[in-house]
């Protein structure tokens, strides 16, 4: 299918003396957290002014501090803030932004938003709204890919959405099978069904979750692949028909269908398979006249057959691992491509060098089924060292609220090879101090230290297979922690003294005096 070139009347073409004269003067970042910070930094390096938007609870957030201008969205509920298209468009107009970068999540894959931006002459940094719609509709996306000869997984992508028809189709495909939201992503609205008895419940629940998350309850069913790996290819496509891929990312380590550890190169990748999958990814992008940065996700089975799963029409959370091994700055290329620049990198110029890993640090409790945790971050200290990158949106004193995604930071390490890099990541995680809110840091370390992970034997079932509930050591308080506490308390004795007053006389007024001095000397 052909995609109409969207109007670009607001940009003058041309590049003089290697300087892109069409580069945006000001970009609004319609996001929060680490990704907003990442994009603001890319803009600043390119000499672009930035506008941050924030909800009431994000007033002091790093992205707000970093941007040249910032505008409050008010009510922190996502629908009233980072998902509110009219509010965001108005702010872009009022501040005179030429373009909007959506980041990931929120409005990043919302075709109406992309359309609304371009309608009023503000460039949406991403592909066209038509491509977003097409790829957002997983059924249509698969059909398009089948036509383009990209292999797809067998399943039911039909229009009959009543429970009876879906159950009948499910039985045809056989078990186990996957119920997936047509508009889904990030594991939302997805259910694995192992037998007919739980199929109806899974369909209902997936529909409900999909309705509330995406406003659409269409689901589809597909064959569930044995020993599956999730391997995706990064794409860059300019607005002049040039498409390249930037190799794979292995994202198999997931909990609740959401990635937590990503790496590149994949431990199972061969030169031949990389060529085949890379070509398929480029073919997929060309089939829809894709523009800007995107990701083609594949499922790879135990025999290294690969199937197209979906295409993400945005910058991915895990993009830094690709940046580490290729040396290419994807966020900056998004800006350059959007301003009309041609891709100056050719496929043959690209190489993968060394090994990169990303660990996603979440405010969640691995011992309680990875439930999100909220509260105040009493202390945050990130590790620093050679080839350690910390993409973060948190600070000491920040409150983690239930309004948004619980991801706090991403730590990325780079080394000569996988073995050394695993050790580097363990070193970095062991020095990442986040106190006050339960995080998955210890759990991430346990995964990296696992012998199967070290051997590269990972599938998307890795965590459920190797980490049954409560595998994170429950041996209580170690002696080192006890000693540290006792030393700390001897050094800071005052709280003990107050307790003593309380024991003597609960009505003694002096127990309320706190740190006031009684003597007149040098009184404050």
């Amino acid at each position: 299918m052909k995609v109409k070139k969207e109007s670009m009347h607001f940009l003058r073409k041309g590049k003089v003396n290697g300087v892109n004269k069409n580069m945006f003067k000001k970009v609004l970042i319609a996001n929060r957290g680490e990704i907003a910070v990442r994009i603001i930094k890319a803009c600043q390096e390119l000499g672009i002014k930035t506008v941050a938007i924030y909800s009431d609870v994000d007033k002091k957030a790093p992205h707000v501090q970093l941007a040249d201008e910032s505008v409050c969205l008010g009510d922190p509920t996502p629908i009233e803030s980072y998902l509110n298209i009219p509010k965001i468009i108005k702010i872009a107009k009022d501040t005179g932004a030429n373009a909007i970068h959506p980041g990931y999540g929120f409005l990043a894959e919302n075709p109406d938003f992309a359309h609304s931006c371009n309608d009023i002459g503000i460039k949406f940094i991403g592909p066209s709204s038509k491509v977003i719609s097409l790829m957002g509709d997983k059924i249509a996306a698969k059909k398009t890919m089948e036509k383009a000869k990209v292999p797809v997984i067998p399943g039911y992508h039909g229009v009959k959405q009543d429970n009876k028809s879906l159950i009948a189709e499910g039985k045809k495909i056989g078990f186990p099978l996957l119920v997936k939201a047509a508009s889904g992503g990030g594991g939302k609205g997805m259910r694995i069904v192992y037998s007919e008895s739980t199929l109806a419940e899974a369909i209902e629940s997936a529909k409900r979750e999909s309705k509330s998350s995406f406003g659409d309850d269409t689901v589809f069913l597909e064959k569930y692949i044995d020993k599956p790996r999730h391997i995706e290819f990064q794409i860059l496509a300019d607005e002049h028909g040039n498409v390249i891929h930037l190799f794979e990312r292995e994202c198999s380590v997931q909990r609740r269908h959401q990635k937590i550890i990503e790496e590149t190169p994949s431990p199972v990748m061969t030169k031949e398979l990389r060529k085949k999958m890379g070509d398929a990814a480029v073919a997929a992008a060309k089939a829809v006249n894709y523009t800007n940065a995107g990701t083609v996700e594949f499922m790879v089975d135990g025999n290294l057959n690969f199937y197209f799963m979906e295409m993400n029409t945005r910058l991915q959370v895990e993009h830094p691992v690709t940046e580490m091994v290729t040396g290419i700055d994807l966020a900056k290329w998004q800006l350059k491509i959007s301003s009309g620049e041609k891709l100056s990198i050719k496929q043959k110029d690209l190489t993968q060098r060394g090994h990169a890993i990303e660990c996603r640090i979440y405010a969640e409790d691995p011992e309680k089924g990875f439930l999100p945790s909220i509260g105040k971050l009493e202390k945050v200290e990130a590790p620093a060292g050679p080839n350690i990158r910390d993409d973060t949106g948190i600070y000491t004193g920040m409150k983690v609220t239930p309004y948004y995604d619980p991801m706090l930071a991403k730590i990325v390490t780079y080394a000569e090879n996988r073995e050394e890099n695993i050790n580097k990541m363990i070193w970095a995680l062991s020095r990442y101090v986040i106190l006050g809110v339960t995080t998955n840091i210890s759990f991430l370390k346990n995964v990296l230290e696992h012998s199967a992970f070290k051997k590269g034997n990972i599938t998307t079932h890795f965590i459920e297979n190797h980490f049954k509930e409560g595998t994170v050591s429950k041996e209580g308080l170690p002696i080192d922690a006890i000693i540290a506490l006792a030393v700390f308390d001897s050094m800071h004795k005052k709280s003990q003294d107050i307790v003593r007053y309380k024991e003597v006389d609960p009505h003694n007024p002096w127990k309320h005096v706190g740190r006031w001095r009684v003597s007149g000397e040098g009184g404050q």
Binding site: P372, V433, I479, I482, L485
Partner: protein, 161 residues
Amino acid sequence: MFINYEHENSVYNVTTEKRDNNFYITYNNTEYKAEAEEIKPGQLKIKIGDRIVKAVITEGDKEKYVFVDGNVYKVKHVELTAKKKTRKKEEGNLNSPISGKVVDVKVKKGDKVKKGDVLMVIEAMKMEYLIRSPYNGKVKKVNFKEKDQIEIGEETVEIEK
């Protein structure tokens, strides 16, 4: 001085004393002699024999957080009861594991439920959490209706065994 730290339902009785710039810590009938300095507020470097322990400690509203070797432990000071208490492990509870919105209520008062039946569906951070019955029984009371806001720890449904 005597201190009792509570961590995950266990209490640790510790005594600590400062003599000649050393700290003497006794736990579980063993005395540890430690040299320690606070490098930055809350950041300790402790020498125990030939071992060096680095720790970061922060005080929250009620708790202290200790960071040692990449792991974080949350502890509370407790009153001097000297006796190690361990709470009885519950059979499973019906409290909401998260603050969020009730999106579906599957049962009503008087319904008979079996262990594992879904009673209520709570949505938070765009994920769904299913509240399942921990045992067979009869619904005594449903505390929330659809679209209600529910806070972490609140009881969803009461069930009589």
